[in-house]
Point group: C2
Chain length 432, copies 2
Amino acid sequence: MPDSGAMPADVLSELHGLLARFSAIGATAEGGVTRLAASAEDGEARDLLCRWLREHGFTVMIDEVGNVFGCLDLDDTAASGAVYCGSHLDSQPNGGRFDGTYGVLAACCAALAIKRDIENGKLAPQVRYLVVVAWTNEEGARFQPSLIGSSVFSGALRAEDALSARDGDGVTLAAALEAIGYLGRERPPAEPNFYVELHVEQGAVLEQTDHQVGIVTHCWGARKFRTRFIGKPDHTGPTPMEKRCDALRAASLLISGVSERALASEGRLHGSVGRVVVEPNSPNVVPQSATLWVELRSGDEAELDGAETAFRQSLERICAATGCRVEIESGSVRAAQSFDADGAALARRAIESLDLRTMTMATIAGHDALALQERFPAILLFVPSVDGTSHAPQELTKDEDLETGLTALTAVLSRLLSETRGNGSPESGGSA
Amino acid sequence: MPDSGAMPADVLSELHGLLARFSAIGATAEGGVTRLAASAEDGEARDLLCRWLREHGFTVMIDEVGNVFGCLDLDDTAASGAVYCGSHLDSQPNGGRFDGTYGVLAACCAALAIKRDIENGKLAPQVRYLVVVAWTNEEGARFQPSLIGSSVFSGALRAEDALSARDGDGVTLAAALEAIGYLGRERPPAEPNFYVELHVEQGAVLEQTDHQVGIVTHCWGARKFRTRFIGKPDHTGPTPMEKRCDALRAASLLISGVSERALASEGRLHGSVGRVVVEPNSPNVVPQSATLWVELRSGDEAELDGAETAFRQSLERICAATGCRVEIESGSVRAAQSFDADGAALARRAIESLDLRTMTMATIAGHDALALQERFPAILLFVPSVDGTSHAPQELTKDEDLETGLTALTAVLSRLLSETRGNGSPESGGSA
């Protein structure tokens, strides 16, 4: 039985101390953080992480899109392969303190506990490397798409495409990473047998059903469309109404339409427009263009097909009504998918052996584990979010849940390290 | 008969040369200009104007909100009072080359012609000063409200309030003017007996009716409301639709509602939302707030009353439907009003004596002359805009119309200078 379940007090204390230090980087007046990907604040958080990793015996490597790896060589004799564990340090504007950061710091602390168990002879690793990782631009707030670092790592996105993504001011990800000193060329010496991520739920299912840890078995699909209406700039005063081609009016029809369809779906479809950029955005000029970041999400691909068809048809109607043109400038599709079943089963055995209340569930939000899962088996664990709030400064996970999550993560990692071999498939059995 | 109507060729040439030089300052790829109020580009245009004024014998004065006055002392013996003539040098983002700038440069050139007529004994001024003026922030693109400089001059707006207006980046007008060296303390030695402004129409009435010069006798009223919806930030993925308070969805309902009412009014009401600021404006965050710059315009105050009532009622409905709150952060009202009748009559006599096709008309757009007219009699003249387009790089007035406008302006100023006295009322009569 590799997982004792008792987390040393100093490791729990390290977790809370680290969370407080990272929460201070980019802290906002409302209690959140603004730590956009590859910003100065993100750079400060990365620097702190790298210092901590080096001080604790990890070898730090930065890859070509700024992913930060802290590599621990557990056993240079018999074992082979690697288990990766982490999440991301970037945040939404005035976003939550725990989103992503908790997963990186819990990985650090779990690694501390595991290192000690190995030194004390309580754990005999069958895997050579334990790699803590912080992925670049998970949020997709400053650069689109989201999950950039993990998608490049898994091969789903080309590094050149990732690096040429531009923020709202036209700055490329490459330039932003270079400015903070995180454009590297190194990767850990072994690819992941397994990737494990611990994250706050960002929904209220665990809270409402009184579970302590969620094991994610599948994820909703998402289709995202950057959509640009093009009208004609003109004076808002004298220009006759019927002569106007108002791109913001066209945008408003799309925004309300997306929400209405999702509201009518009784929970099967989520839809939103979170970002809009209007040009010239002057009070006295009929808007010349309006670019909308539209997203549709569902656990059911047929529902998504229907929503996408309705979305595309509505563009035609809106253009006919407003005299605008429309362009879909970019789209991204993430299919509804399942997580590795063996990994979920292993996680369940590990967590149930700790007598924690656990359940399997879906994720609607995107996570780096989804990008990894394209190529490597991945395990995604959730802890409760108070009231389900996230991407907001009010985001909160209680101290006891933060500690429970770390305990569960350590148990899952311990099993992966002791039960799996270099080929990535966990051995059957276990004590649950 | 003080107005010969024949503009010297060198003065016409000066007008075209000046227009070309000013069009190059802040020039955009599409052929427009971006010369936002108190920006570096505006500073460059002001510097060029001041140099030109000094080179041509004007005394330059800058007042406490950056208005630029070029004062010409026509007769320091018998005459008294002043006639002011000008417009503005600031533009919309990627706005037109002629909007405002033409009026300032035509005033310069008209003053040249008048100075020569006085020197040649063709004109005997009864008014001591001719003042060319460029008002600060007419457009209201960077700082709101619009007509800031002229409103402070006329007393309708306090200088402290004007100077504390902030742009989208939080920069005050005071700081912006100081940065370009245009925070002054001087005013011309006499207030205006009359203010005259020549402007491009920004509508298609003159073009459609084949008139060369419009004499503006009245203006539409305008009501402007900076309206902010406040929702709740949340993750666009997992947050259940019915739990969301989406400020951009609320905004979209208002934007389409304003347009629909105006479209249904058959030309009696113009309504638009030209600017929107969303926070945090991230693709994956349910928008927390959306601020809209809403304007309603009509020539009929009862129509405006009805539109404002409908606007306010729609806010209640939208909040009930979306769970958002709303605040009207600021509003401004410009009543439908008439221009000085004696001034319009004088302008008509002067222009008809040149055998130009002229008509009286309304302005729907706001102009500095409206702000001046609050306290001083004002005359506003229009020349045709091709296709009525303005606030856009395609804005165009033909060379022959530019020249005709300068000729008409010179004739009107000549009459004002020779027929009016220090008390501001033109004598009756004339040759029309």
